[in-house]
């Protein structure tokens, strides 16, 4: 019950965040965003047709009315249909979010797991050549642009000029085998790019925990390394790790990997959202922005609960 009360309180306190995110995004993306009128007009429009389209799009309404309308849509979760395709926004998101998750999930998980693994090696062999080699590679990895990695990997792994092992692009997934073949190159690119950052981050967290007094105490009482790692290092490192991982989740869900989706032509939510921004597709934008804000509030709640679970010093105030 304490948790429940806390959850409710936390959710209520998340309202300002939701309002802030929606207000700023609405202002930028919808109010000052691209004018969709001329994309919805034929080749030879009349002034009357232009006015009709503007009315349809709500451009003739004052800002406040449009924002309040948006808030009402947010509460009822009725965002209507895309201005571009006419597809129902809910079904649009239901179609694209799973794709983005399936696309970015493996890269996200692998990038973090490999990061932890490399960081462990580096931390364990602190100041030796192993550590230095890993950390130097991390800096190199961090210095290569994601864009360059994507272009290079596509040529190397997918094109007929390279190895040609995987599909060049697209997302035509009907079986698990298909899935693996389509997700492989994007995953490799994502892991490559994230690994440097992750390894550095996890190494610093692990080193910090490994030099703590209680680790020395545990060693002084003969605790074997595996147990030491689990009980004294890993669990204590969970707070920064949880923060990093959980707050990445809304971004993984919403922006997917915009660049990956654009470059590989994958119909995920990142691409949809990006297209919506550049074409001024208000209903889609409104839904995505609202969803983002809500996900962040949920992420905050989740981190707080997880903090509580891993660290008894933190209480649900």
């Amino acid at each position: 019950m304490e948790i429940l009360q806390y959850t409710v309180r936390k959710l209520i306190s998340g309202i300002p965040l939701v309002l802030g995110v929606t207000l700023i995004s609405f202002l930028l993306m919808v109010y000052f965003g691209p004018d969709k009128t001329y994309e919805l007009l034929g080749k030879n429009p009349t002034a009357q047709e232009i006015a009709e389209v503007r009315t349809q799009l709500g451009y003739d309404q004052p800002f406040l009315v449009r924002y309040v309308d948006y808030l009402r849509e947010l509460v009822t979760l009725e965002f209507g249909n895309s201005d571009s395709t006419g597809e129902d926004v809910a079904s649009l998101l239901a179609r694209t979010i799973p794709i983005s998750l399936a696309l970015t999930g493996p890269g996200f998980v692998l990038g973090n797991l490999l990061g932890v693994l490399l960081a462990l090696f580096a931390a364990f062999y602190r100041s030796t050549w192993v550590d230095k080699a890993i950390m130097a590679s991390a800096v190199v990895g961090m210095s290569i642009s994601f864009l360059i990695v994507i272009i290079a990997f596509q040529i190397i792994f997918a094109s007929s000029y390279g190895l040609g092992w995987f599909p060049v692009r697209g997302w035509s997934v009907h079986s698990f085998g298909d899935y693996l073949s389509y997700v492989a190159v994007p995953t490799m690119a994502m892991v490559f790019v994230a690994l440097g950052y992750n390894t550095r981050f996890y190494r610093s967290v692990l080193v910090e925990e490994m030099t703590r007094d209680h680790v020395r105490t545990a060693r002084a009482f003969g605790v074997p390394p595996a147990k030491l790692f689990y009980k004294n290092i890993l669990k204590n490192s969970m707070i920064p790790i949880i923060t990093r991982v959980v707050f990445s989740i809304p971004l993984v869900i919403i922006s997917g990997s915009l660049l990956i989706e654009s470059y590989f032509g994958i119909p995920g939510v990142g691409k949809i959202t990006y297209d919506a921004i550049i074409s001024g597709d208000q209903p889609v934008l409104k839904a995505v922005v609202g969803l983002t804000a809500i996900l962040f509030v949920l992420a905050q709640l989740l981190t707080d609960i997880l903090y509580r679970a891993v660290d008894p010093r933190i209480s649900l105030k």
């Binding site: 802030g20 700023i24 995004s25 965003g33 660049l259």
Partner: protein, 291 residues
């Protein structure tokens, strides 16, 4: 006014120790030399010493490397080397503008938030940071760029408005810590105005954090520019490595790599050098490692 003297001494020792440490860090110094070299190139471009002809059409289409065109020519016969060199200026301009302004704004707002910790000012600033951090970066930048179409600095503004929050949080934390220190309390007691306390006593003690953050943001800005330019959201007029890579993304498939290589190698060099310099700086300025 011993209250003023103490932090000054502390600072000096930190800086002199850091400078000494940095000077002894061989990798750091090599990296710094590279960064300075790039900076010289950028200054030269600004002064018009070289690469002034980056937009001239001087050759044929996709010419190979030659004495006249060190890196060949692009689709419409412009000199790729000149364009890559010119882009160094763009990179520094983007990096410096974003890093400096984001640091200044972050420091100012972070200090205010930290100083008024617990009051509504702090609450509002925290809320703002939370809000800005909650909007996915590229979507946010895209939105700003579209909203401010005519402004050549739309991309800069977009990056600054998201980058400052991390500085803001750090400085806020540091200020809360520093505010509890005696000399600040002493200054408070003799009723020195609050903004004077922030500017004269608190901010100087956070400069090492700001310096490191600025180098990190410099690198992020350059890397983001490449992706934004590729997406068509970046540099408006002029040339940049991102635009060159965008130009090249189709060409590489036809076996014409000059644009891609020139831009990505030059960019990698600068980012790598800056990353390493940033690391060295961080090591040198880390009080836990000093001494």
């Amino acid at each position: 006014m011993s209250a003023v003297a103490i932090p000054a001494v502390r600072r000096e020792s930190l800086w002199s120790k850091a400078a000494w440490k940095l000077a002894r860090d061989r990798t750091g110094m090599i990296a710094l030399a590279f960064v300075l070299l790039y900076m010289l190139v950028a200054v030269g471009v600004t002064a018009g010493w070289w690469a002034a002809d980056w937009s001239e059409v001087r050759g044929g289409k996709w010419e190979a490397m030659s004495a006249a065109h060190w890196f060949g020519t692009n689709l419409i016969g412009q000199d790729i080397f000149a364009r890559a060199v010119y882009s160094t200026k763009t990179a520094f301009e983007v990096g410096l503008v974003v890093a400096v302004l984001a640091t200044v704004i972050g420091a100012a707002l972070g200090a205010v938030a930290g100083f008024f910790n617990g009051s509504w000012i702090d609450e509002v600033l925290l809320w703002l940071m939370g809000v800005l951090d909650s909007i996915p970066f590229y979507l946010f930048v895209a939105a700003i760029v579209f909203a401010m179409q005519d402004n050549p600095y739309a991309m800069h503004i977009a990056m600054i408005s998201t980058f400052w929050t991390s500085v803001g949080r750090l400085i806020r934390g540091e200020v809360i810590k520093l505010r509890g220190l005696e000399y600040v309390e002493a200054a408070h007691a003799i009723s020195v105005p609050e903004f004077v306390i922030i500017i004269r006593h608190i901010l100087p003690n956070t400069t090492h954090i700001l310096l490191v953050q600025a180098t990190i943001m410099f690198v992020s800005a350059i890397k983001s520019e490449v992706i934004l330019s590729f997406l068509g959201l970046g540099v408006k007029d002029g040339m940049s490595w991102g635009l060159m890579i965008a130009e090249s993304s189709q060409e590489v498939m036809a076996g014409f790599f000059n644009n891609f290589l020139a831009a990505s190698v030059l960019m990698f060099g600068l980012v790598m050098a800056f990353n390493m310099f940033s690391d060295a700086l961080q090591d040198a300025l880390d009080p836990r490692k000093v001494g």
